[in-house]
């Protein structure tokens, strides 16, 4: 059994919505409502779900860019949710993030070299000479050349910028990288390059990824295990092969049936969900998915299903199992 790197327990994030004349906090948007998951050392956990289901919020809480409302984030034995500002900054040495938008995540007024060296400067890791050497190494590592270090972000394409973002994340030799939709802003042809780069780097440096995406085929390509989120909750989590071949939760089934197959002759039954995703400020009672579920039972309307192990390593939150 491999070692656990990250264990998230019952993580919640409720954003207050001010209503009323005097700004009383009257209601909450339950962006993330009780997510528990684990990540083993060296694996890639994919997190999928539609827009607004809380997957990015989960990622941002794990890197502590957002403070969780409730819950624990055990990273390498330490509870990140209880650290103060200074300790969090220190912890970020081992916990880096890659962002969705490679255009906006690089400071336009800093050269690429400065941007990549920033984590090293912040964590006081090397002297200037070594830093420059390290930046050049990192650039080569992500498939750029060392003379790019003196250039500014606007001189690069989207794919190149994402490589720069990856180089920055790698600079401090982190243990975990949270990749928040790292390829969604890129062309399909560039997506595969960046994904392959991420996989190569994972092998080379023994990285662990939390890979957040709405693109099922991307997640299938890169992940070892996949978690599916719906309305702030994790509804199913399993090894990639089991989840894609044998989804249990009705939501996952519907999601999987929406993946296009690149063969016009294969006829596939498409499960079309009725209705829209409910508002996270006023989620349905019981199982949040019950109003749209095609296998809805009486119990689903009243009782919240818990994440249960339905077969080894396959967890699903549904009353059917």
């Amino acid at each position: 059994m491999t070692e656990l790197l990250l264990e998230v327990k019952n993580l919640k994030k409720h954003f207050p919505v001010n209503k009323g004349l005097f700004g009383q906090k009257k209601s909450f948007v339950r962006a993330v409502d009780g997510v528990s998951l684990t990540i083993e050392k060296g694996e890639t956990l994919g997190l999928v779900g539609e827009s607004g289901c809380g997957k990015s919020t989960t990622g941002r809480m794990i890197t502590r860019l957002l403070a969780p409302t409730e819950g624990e984030i055990l990273f390498d034995g330490r509870d990140l949710s209880k650290l103060n500002d200074k300790q969090i900054r220190e912890a970020r040495k081992e916990l880096q993030m890659i962002f969705q938008d490679p255009y906006a995540s690089l400071n336009p007024r800093m050269t690429i070299g400065e941007t990549i060296a920033e984590p090293l400067i912040v964590h006081n890791m090397m002297n200037k000479k070594d830093r420059i050497k390290k930046v050049h190494e990192l650039l080569e590592c992500v498939g750029l050349t060392s003379y790019h270090a003196n250039r500014y972000p606007h001189e690069f394409s989207g794919g190149q910028r994402q490589r720069i973002g990856i180089a920055r994340a790698l600079a401090v030799n982190p243990k975990l990288i949270v990749a928040d939709e790292p390829v969604s802003a890129l062309d399909v042809s560039i997506q595969s390059q960046v994904l392959n780069l991420m996989q190569d780097l994972q092998e080379e440096f023994g990285l662990t990824y939390l890979f957040i995406s709405h693109d099922l085929s991307v997640v299938e390509h890169i992940s070892d295990r996949v978690g599916v989120m719906y309305l702030g909750k994790l509804v199913e989590i399993a090894r990639k092969e089991t989840l894609y071949e044998n989804p249990k939760h009705p939501y996952t089934k519907a999601l999987m049936s929406a993946v296009p197959i690149a063969n016009p002759r294969v006829k596939k039954e498409r499960i079309v969900l009725q209705g829209d995703i409910p508002s996270p400020s006023n989620p349905p009672t019981g199982c949040t998915f019950h109003p749209r579920c095609n296998a809805c039972m009486e119990i689903c309307k009243t009782e919240v299903p818990l994440l249960k192990e339905t077969s080894p390593g396959h967890f699903s939150a549904c009353h059917l199992y």
């Binding site: 890197t63 860019l65 900054r89 220190e90 970020r92 040495k93 880096q96 993030m97 962002f99 938008d101 906006a104 995540s105 690089l106 400071n107 336009p108 007024r109 800093m110 920033e118 984590p119 912040v122 964590h123 003196n150 250039r151 500014y152 001189e155 973002g165 920055r168 401090v172």
Partner: protein
């Protein structure tokens, strides 16, 4: 056809030459194209030289009276005529340049430094600190500009040094507001968030990421503000609250010439003209800088 390929080749060559396009070069490329702002910049450069060399290039002394040439009209000997004490107005204007530029620059410099720090802190940290700073600024804004300056002079007493302080204080809230508003928007950008995710401290984010991005609006407003500061300082001197009589300050010269407006208009005309042109030059330069620094105005 052949020409076309040759052209392309030259273009490639040029791109090789300008390998590193720093933000400054980018700015310079755009600023160069603005003729009026360039002229204003040259004029301001010229004013600085005049201010530095003042006493050496002035044909006459600025303070020595010459009772044989009282209130004489402009002539070849006295280019801008003489005042009630026979002093050469042209020489006085030259020496006054130093005072006006000094007052303008130093007061705006103080307001910019203090206003920027307040704006950064207030925008970045928010909360009660932000509220407090902004409410104090609101109070300062409630005074009509010159009245506030007069009030401060009334407390500190007249004199050029106090004019600098008064004009500086009266400029702080505007800087604070401008910097705060850009801080608020830059704080939310992804690159600030990514700096945070890397582990950068608040201090580093403020000075390394936010401040450089607000710099362009600070520079623009700084330049425009110098004109206003010179004008305010001149007004205070005109009212007798700033530079005291023998000093060749432009506002004080206007004030001294007031009594001879009908008989010897040149005594007020030339200092007035200097104020006008200088303030105009700073404003035009500010406009040009704004256009060149605005990232949305790409060619």
């Amino acid at each position: 056809m052949k020409n076309g390929t040759v052209d392309l080749h030259i273009k490639d060559g040029r791109q090789e030459a300008e390998k590193v396009r720093t933000p400054f070069l980018e700015f310079w490329r755009k600023f160069k194209k603005q003729r009026i702002a360039m002229i204003a910049a040259f004029f301001i450069g010229f004013l600085f030289i005049v201010a530095l060399l003042g006493p050496f290039i002035a044909p006459y002394s600025a303070v020595e009276p010459d009772y044989e040439n009282i209130l004489s009209s402009p002539s070849m000997q006295h280019l801008a005529g003489t005042d009630a004490f026979g002093r050469d107005i042209f020489s006085r204007i030259i020496e006054g340049t130093r005072i006006s530029l000094f007052v303008g620059l130093s007061s705006v410099f103080f307001s910019a430094v203090l206003g920027t720090i307040l704006g950064l802190v207030s925008g970045y940290y928010g909360g009660w600190l932000d509220n407090m700073i902004m409410r104090i600024c609101d109070v300062l804004f409630a005074f009509p500009g010159i009245l506030l300056a007069i009030g401060i002079i009334a407390i500190l007493g007249p004199g050029l040094g106090n004019v600098v302080i008064a004009v500086a204080i009266f400029g702080i809230p505007t800087f604070a507001r401008i910097v705060r508003s850009s801080t608020l928007s830059i704080k939310e950008t992804l690159y600030v968030e990514s700096a945070r995710s890397v582990g950068a401290s608040a201090k580093r984010i403020i000075f390394k990421h936010i401040f450089p991005s607000t710099l362009s609006s600070i520079i623009v407003y700084f330049t425009m503000r110098i004109g206003t500061a010179i004008l305010t300082a001149a007004s205070l001197s005109f009212l007798g609250l700033g530079a005291q009589p023998p000093s060749p300050e432009w506002g004080a010269m206007l004030s001294a010439g007031r009594d001879f407006l009908n008989t010897a208009p040149h005594v007020t005309f030339f200092p007035g003209l200097s104020i006008f042109i200088t303030v105009l030059a700073f404003n035009l330069l500010g406009d040009g800088l704004r256009d060149a620094l605005d990232p949305k105005m790409k060619d």
